[in-house]
């Protein structure tokens, strides 16, 4: 079988924009790949997202402009990618975003090509012979597995968002290849209608993806008004430490911590919270934690990805402004 000495990335496009995971994958592949890095982009006929992708410096961009394909039918997309690969030969590897789209499309293509796929990878590296070593979590992130696909090509993987950093790279050599004549047979079984998901804030802190948490260091009437404005801006839900449940408007359902609720937001912003163990017991599943506190030795900082030493209200106002 004809193998193509390239490593491929599938560009994920949401709502006419390239999902940043694609840039993260390009930067990572540029770092680890000896072979040329190619991005496969499927976009609407009037779009030119390849221009955005170029800024991250892949060696090649294959652009398929097709208004049917962008509807997002996995079967149609599998057919298209399979046809493309039939023309070009099988690349050494082909990686996708571990998003709903990537995790639905990649395995179908895997089955079509009868090769191996590793889902939801947290790390990737190549060995000298081109073997892609894929590290994936299992058992809900309690175990890490290293998986390889020794004898089949492409070696396929989906990769989790935000594990690699995206860096712009000036690559004057980036080639753009337009594929226009790809035949797409419509899947008549499914009718898909899509609309943007309104950014709603969740009802309860246990389900919230974003939380602004306030503690005793940020509890005046004015502080609260500011924190709430910030929360609105972020589509976040307000959480509190236990002392604030003394206030009329908060109760145990708003309280984070051991005797309150455990939370698992993508981002948690702590304003004026010291970080008592009973509080931090409830935040261990928060993904990114930002904390503001006047005390440079506040225990909460040890639990934080980013911290600000200073007045929480000023920080909250500045943050609101930065989000304008």
């Amino acid at each position: 079988m004809e193998f193509l000495k390239e490593n491929w990335i599938f560009a994920e496009v949401d709502l006419n924009k390239v999902n940043p995971i694609t840039y993260q994958l390009i930067t990572k592949m540029n770092q680890i790949s000896e072979l040329p890095v190619t991005v496969v982009l499927v976009e609407g006929s009037s779009e030119s997202l390849e221009e955005d992708i170029k800024e991250y410096g892949p060696d090649k961009i294959i652009t398929i402009k097709n208004d049917q394909l962008v509807q997002g039918n996995d079967l149609e997309m599998t057919n298209a990618l399979d046809t493309l690969i039939e023309k070009t030969g099988r690349p050494n590897s082909f990686v996708f975003a571990a998003t709903v789209v990537g995790r639905s499309l990649a395995p179908r293509l895997q089955a079509r090509l009868r090769t191996g796929l590793t889902a939801d990878c947290l790390d990737l590296h190549f060995e000298d012979d081109g073997t892609l070593v894929q590290t994936k979590p299992s058992y809900g992130d309690n175990i890490m597995c290293e998986i390889v696909v020794p004898n089949h090509r492409p070696q396929m993987a989906t990769v989790r968002s935000n594990v690699f950093e995206a860096k712009k790279l000036n690559n004057p050599m980036t080639k753009v290849i337009n594929i226009t004549n790809l035949k797409v047979v419509q899947d008549k079984q499914l009718t898909i209608s899509s609309k943007p998901l309104p950014q709603e804030s969740a009802e309860s802190i246990t389900e919230a993806n974003r939380i602004v948490a306030i503690g005793r260091g940020d509890k005046t009437e004015e502080n609260l008004t500011n924190a709430k404005r910030l929360a609105d801006k972020l589509h976040a839900v307000i959480g509190v430490t236990r002392p604030l449940t003394d206030l009329e408007e908060f109760d145990i359902n708003d309280q984070i911590g051991q005797s309150g609720q455990s939370v698992s937001p993508d981002i948690l912003i702590n304003l004026g919270i010291s970080g008592a163990v009973q509080y931090t017991a409830g935040i261990s599943n928060a993904k990114t934690i930002v904390s503001a506190n006047t005390d440079k030795d506040a225990p909460i900082f040890k639990h934080s990805d980013y911290y600000y030493v200073g007045n929480a209200e000023e920080f909250s106002k500045a943050l609101e402004k930065a989000l304008q």
Binding site: D14, L15, N19, P20, I21, Q24, D74, T78, T99, V100, R103, S104, P107, R108, Q110, A111, R114, T115, G116, L117, T118, A119, K136, G140, N142, I143, M144, C145, E146, V148, V149, N162, E165, K188, Q189, L190, T191, I192, S194, K195, P196, L197, Q199, T288, I289, K302, D305, Y306, Y307, Y308, V309, G310, N311, E314, F315, K317, A318, K321, A322, L323
Partner: protein, 265 residues
């Protein structure tokens, strides 16, 4: 309507550790349960059954003790069960597993709807749905958050990161189900004994029309090279600048670069 629900038996807790001595996953004292998402797939099947009188066949590929999960599914309301068990199936990756499952579905014949969980909680791949759809050559809808039967097919809600999809699907189709889709019931204690009146059929490799090169370890392109414990996630503890606005601006930039904050649309 004929529905096949694929279920997998998984450890009751994913809180497993690697045994220092054996270098393998320590499963002492951990018993099996039906994969949580598969309970939602089963419940979806039962809801359809309640409306359309559909026949629900539950199926699993795995060692003989997976029969407990099949029996549990029967007690929950499935009509019959199929266990796919054979030494030859051992060591299968997703591709080889999907192949055997799809051949078994073909053998059952005239299946209108295949329902699976969105993913297993042990291997966490979520690949089975698309692979089986491909081998059956039917359309797929993954990560369904809501399913309703309607004339000639299904109506499904599905959520991508920033998009909501409303999908109508004609039969046959394969759907994988999220935990948003419904509230699975518990097994009724008295129904357990009654479920033994229903049948569990076991099929071995020889009962299916299989290409020997495509099953088990031999048919698996993926190889697990090693397993390890995750490294403790150490928080970055990055100190933001002292000036509040500088701090806020830098933070917002970082969060946007990392796609944690998506710019407002």
């Amino acid at each position: 309507m004929k529905i096949v629900v694929g279920i997998k038996q998984v450890p009751e807790t994913t809180n497993v550790k690697i045994n220092e001595k054996t270098k393998n996953i320590d499963r002492r004292g951990i018993s099996g349960v039906i994969n949580q998402y598969d309970r939602h797939a089963l419940e979806a099947a039962f809801e359809i059954k309640a409306k359309t009188n559909a026949e629900v066949i539950v199926m699993t590929m795995g060692p003989d003790d997976f029969v407990v999960s099949l029996q549990e599914a029967l007690a929950l309301g499935a009509d019959s069960a199929v266990l796919l068990s054979d030494r030859a199936f051992a060591g299968a990756d997703t591709l080889a597993t999907g192949y055997v499952l799809s051949e078994a579905i073909k053998k059952i014949g005239d299946v209108d709807l295949v329902l699976l969980g969105q993913q297993s909680v042990d291997a966490d791949t979520g690949q089975m749905g698309p692979i089986i759809s491909e081998f059956l050559d039917i359309s797929q809808v993954t990560y369904a958050s809501k399913l309703d039967v309607e004339e000639g097919g299904l109506r499904i809600k599905r959520y991508l990161e920033n998009i909501e999809q409303d999908i109508t699907a004609k039969l046959p189709v394969l759907v994988t189900v999220t935990d948003q889709a419904n509230d699975p019931k518990y097994v009724n204690i008295v129904e357990i004994a009654k479920s033994f009146e229903k049948e569990v059929t076991t099929w071995h490799a020889s009962d299916l029309n299989l290409d020997a090169d495509r099953v088990g370890q031999a048919g698996s392109p993926s190889v697990v090279r090693s397993i390890s414990s995750p490294k403790e996630v150490v928080k970055d503890n990055y100190k933001l600048p002292d000036n509040p606005q500088d701090a806020a601006d830098e933070l917002v930039k970082i969060l946007k670069d990392k796609n944690i904050l998506v710019e407002d649309k």
